[in-house]
C-alpha cells in the first residue's frame, strides 16, 4: 500500500512535468497552427542551457531555469524561421517533415558539439525526504525535489494563464490562434505574433527539459524523442490547443505510467503511457475538452 502511494506521488510529480511539456506544446500548436516533432530536441537544448549554467555558474536554480527558457526560446526562433514561416500556405505535411528533419539535425549536432555521453545532473536540489504520516501505519515519503517541481509547475502554469488573459499581447496570441485571417484584419502582425507564441511554447518546453534532467539526475542526448511523443500525446488528450486540458492529459499520463509500473516493471513505462492514450482516444476521440458553446 505504501509503495502504491509513493508511486502515486511519483506519478503526480512526473505528471506535473509532462503537464508543463504539454502546455508548451499546446501553445505552439495553438498559435502557429501546425504540429511540431522537434519538441524533444527543443527541450533538450533547454536542458543543456541549464546544465552549462550548473557547470560554469554554479548550482543556481533560478538562473538555470532562465537559461533553459532562453535557450529554447532562441531555438524556437530558428525553428519558426526554417520550418513554419514560409510554409503557412503550403500543405501541412511540409512543415511537419521540416520539424522532423530539424530534430534529427539538432540531435546529431548536440552529440558532436557536447558529446554523445549521458551527463550527470546531481545535487541540484538537496536530497531531503519528508516522511508524512497518513494515520495508522501508513506514511508517504515526499522528496524535496518533488515538492519543488510541483510548486514550480503550478507557478509557471498560473503565470502563463495570467499572461494570456490579462495582457494585450496575450489577447493577441489567442486571437491569432483562433482565426489568423481575422487577426490580420485587426492589424495584428500575425507572423511576428505566431513566432512569439512558438518561442514561448519552446521556452516552457526548455524548462520542462531541465526539470526532467533534474528528476532523472542525468541528461542524455537520445531519449528526447520519447518525451516529445508524450508531450504530443498529452496535448492530443487535451484536444491539442486547450492548455488546461493538455495539462490534465500530461498529469494523467504521468500517474498512469507510474501506477502501471507498480504492477509490472519499469521497462513497461511507455506501454502504459501510450496504451492509456489509445484507450482514451477510442473512448473520447475529441480529447477531454468539450466543445460546448461555439457557434460559428
Amino acid at each position: 500500500m505504501e509503495y502504491f502511494l509513493n508511486q502515486l506521488v511519483n506519478g503526480l510529480c512526473q505528471g506535473a512535468i509532462y503537464a508543463l511539456m504539454a502546455i508548451g506544446y499546446s501553445v505552439i500548436v495553438g498559435v502557429v497552427g501546425m504540429v511540431t516533432f522537434a519538441y524533444g530536441e527543443i527541450m533538450m537544448i533547454g536542458a543543456f542551457g541549464a546544465y552549462y549554467v550548473f557547470q560554469f555558474v554554479g548550482i543556481n536554480l533560478p538562473i538555470a531555469l532562465l537559461a533553459a527558457f532562453a535557450s529554447s526560446f532562441l531555438l524556437g526562433i530558428i525553428v519558426y524561421k526554417l520550418c513554419y514561416e514560409r510554409f503557412f500556405n503550403a500543405p501541412r505535411h511540409i512543415s511537419l517533415l521540416c520539424t522532423i528533419g530539424f530534430s534529427m539535425l539538432i540531435k546529431n549536432l548536440v552529440q558532436i558539439v557536447f558529446g554523445p555521453e549521458t551527463k550527470p545532473v546531481l545535487n541540484i536540489i538537496d536530497n531531503r525526504t519528508f516522511n508524512i504520516p497518513l494515520g495508522g501505519a501508513i506514511s508517504i515519503d515526499l522528496k524535496l525535489l518533488q515538492i519543488v517541481v510541483m510548486i514550480l509547475v503550478v507557478v509557471l502554469a498560473v503565470t502563463l494563464t495570467l499572461f494570456f488573459n490579462r495582457t494585450r499581447a496575450g489577447v493577441a496570441l489567442r486571437a491569432v490562434s483562433q482565426n489568423k485571417d481575422a487577426a490580420y484584419l485587426m492589424g495584428i502582425n500575425v507572423k511576428r505574433t505566431a513566432m512569439l507564441g512558438n518561442c514561448i511554447g519552446c521556452g516552457f518546453g526548455g524548462i520542462a527539459g531541465i526539470l526532467l534532467a533534474i528528476y532523472y539526475y542525468s541528461i542524455s542526448t537520445t531519449t528526447w524523442g520519447g518525451f516529445s511523443m508524450k508531450a504530443f500525446a498529452a496535448s492530443v488528450l487535451g484536444g491539442l490547443v486547450d492548455l488546461r486540458m493538455s495539462a490534465l492529459g500530461g498529469l494523467c499520463i504521468g500517474i498512469v505510467e507510474n501506477l502501471g509500473i507498480t504492477i509490472s516493471s519499469a521497462t513497461f513505462r511507455d506501454v502504459f503511457a501510450f496504451g492509456f492514450l489509445i484507450i482514451m482516444l477510442v473512448l473520447r476521440p475529441q480529447g477531454f475538452a468539450s466543445k460546448k458553446g461555439n457557434r460559428v
Partner: protein, 239 residues
C-alpha cells in the same frame, strides 16, 4: 470632396479563373459607397484585395494618396482601413470584451482612457453587447455576433470601414437596425464601403454605388440613379 480610397484597374485571378477584371472604384471622404452584385461577382474579392489578403495580378490601390497595393495586411489596417469580413469572423473563445480589445490592435499607441471611451461608445450603439461583456464571442446569436464584429471594427477609429454583407443571414428587423447603424457611423465622420446582396436597402442609404457582374464593373451611379435603373431593377431588386 477629398478622395480617400482609389482602386484602379484591379485584376485578380484564382488559379486560371479570373475573379476581377479591371475594376476601378473611387471612395471620397464621408461617403457611403456600396458594391452590389450577385454571387461570385467579385465583391468580397475586391475587399480582400484592398486589405491585401489575396494576390493581385494587376492594378493599383491608393489610400489617402499612399500606395497600399503591396503593403502588409496589418500595416494597411494601421493606416485606418477597418475590414469587417463576411461571416463575421469574431474570435469565438475570446470574451466580448476581449474581442473589442482585439479591435484596438490596429492602433498601438491608443491610451487606456481612449479604449475605455470607445468601449462605452460601442455599448451605447449596441446595448446588448454590454450585458454580455464576459460571455465568449462564440456563444452569441448571429445578430449579436454581427454587432460585435462591427463594434470591433469601429474600435480602431478607422477613416474607412469596409462592411462585407453585414445583413447576411439576419432577421429583417435586425437588418434594419444594422442599416440605421451604418448611417450613424457615417455621421461620426467615418467613410463606409458596403457590400450587400440586399441591393434595395444598400442603394437606399448609399451616396453612390457600383454594380459588379462576374468580375466586371458594369454600372455606376448615385444610389438613386441605380435604384431606378431598369437593368439593376431586373437583376437585383426583383422588379
Amino acid at each position: 470632396m477629398k478622395e480617400l480610397l482609389k482602386v484602379e484597374n484591379l485584376t485578380v485571378y484564382y488559379g486560371y479563373v479570373s475573379a476581377l477584371q479591371k475594376v476601378s472604384i473611387l471612395v471620397n471622404e464621408g461617403e457611403i459607397i456600396t458594391l452590389i452584385g450577385g454571387n461570385g461577382a467579385g465583391k468580397t474579392t475586391t475587399l480582400m484585395s484592398i486589405s491585401n489578403l489575396v494576390e493581385k495580378a494587376e492594378g493599383r490601390i491608393t489610400f489617402k494618396g499612399q500606395d497600399i497595393t503591396n503593403m502588409a495586411p496589418d500595416k494597411i489596417v494601421k493606416l485606418g482601413i477597418s475590414h469587417v469580413p463576411e461571416g463575421r469572423k469574431i474570435f469565438p473563445q475570446l470574451t466580448v470584451y476581449e474581442n473589442l480589445i482585439a479591435g484596438t490592435f490596429g492602433r498601438p499607441g491608443m491610451s487606456k482612457d481612449r479604449v475605455q471611451q470607445l468601449m462605452e461608445q460601442s455599448f451605447a450603439l449596441f446595448p446588448r453587447l454590454k450585458e454580455r461583456t464576459k460571455q465568449a464571442g462564440g456563444s452569441l446569436s448571429g445578430g449579436e455576433q454581427q454587432m460585435l464584429a462591427i463594434a470591433r471594427g469601429l474600435m480602431m477609429e478607422p477613416a474607412l470601414i469596409m462592411l462585407d454583407e453585414p445583413s447576411l443571414g439576419l432577421a429583417p428587423i435586425i437588418v434594419e437596425e444594422i442599416f440605421d447603424l451604418i448611417l450613424r457611423i457615417r455621421e461620426t465622420g467615418t467613410t463606409v464601403l458596403l457590400i450587400e446582396q440586399n441591393a434595395s436597402m444598400a442603394l437606399s442609404i448609399a451616396d453612390r454605388g457600383y454594380v459588379l457582374e462576374t468580375g466586371h464593373m458594369t454600372l455606376t451611379g448615385t444610389g438613386k440613379e441605380l435604384s431606378v435603373n431598369e437593368d439593376v431593377k431586373k437583376a437585383y431588386l426583383g422588379a
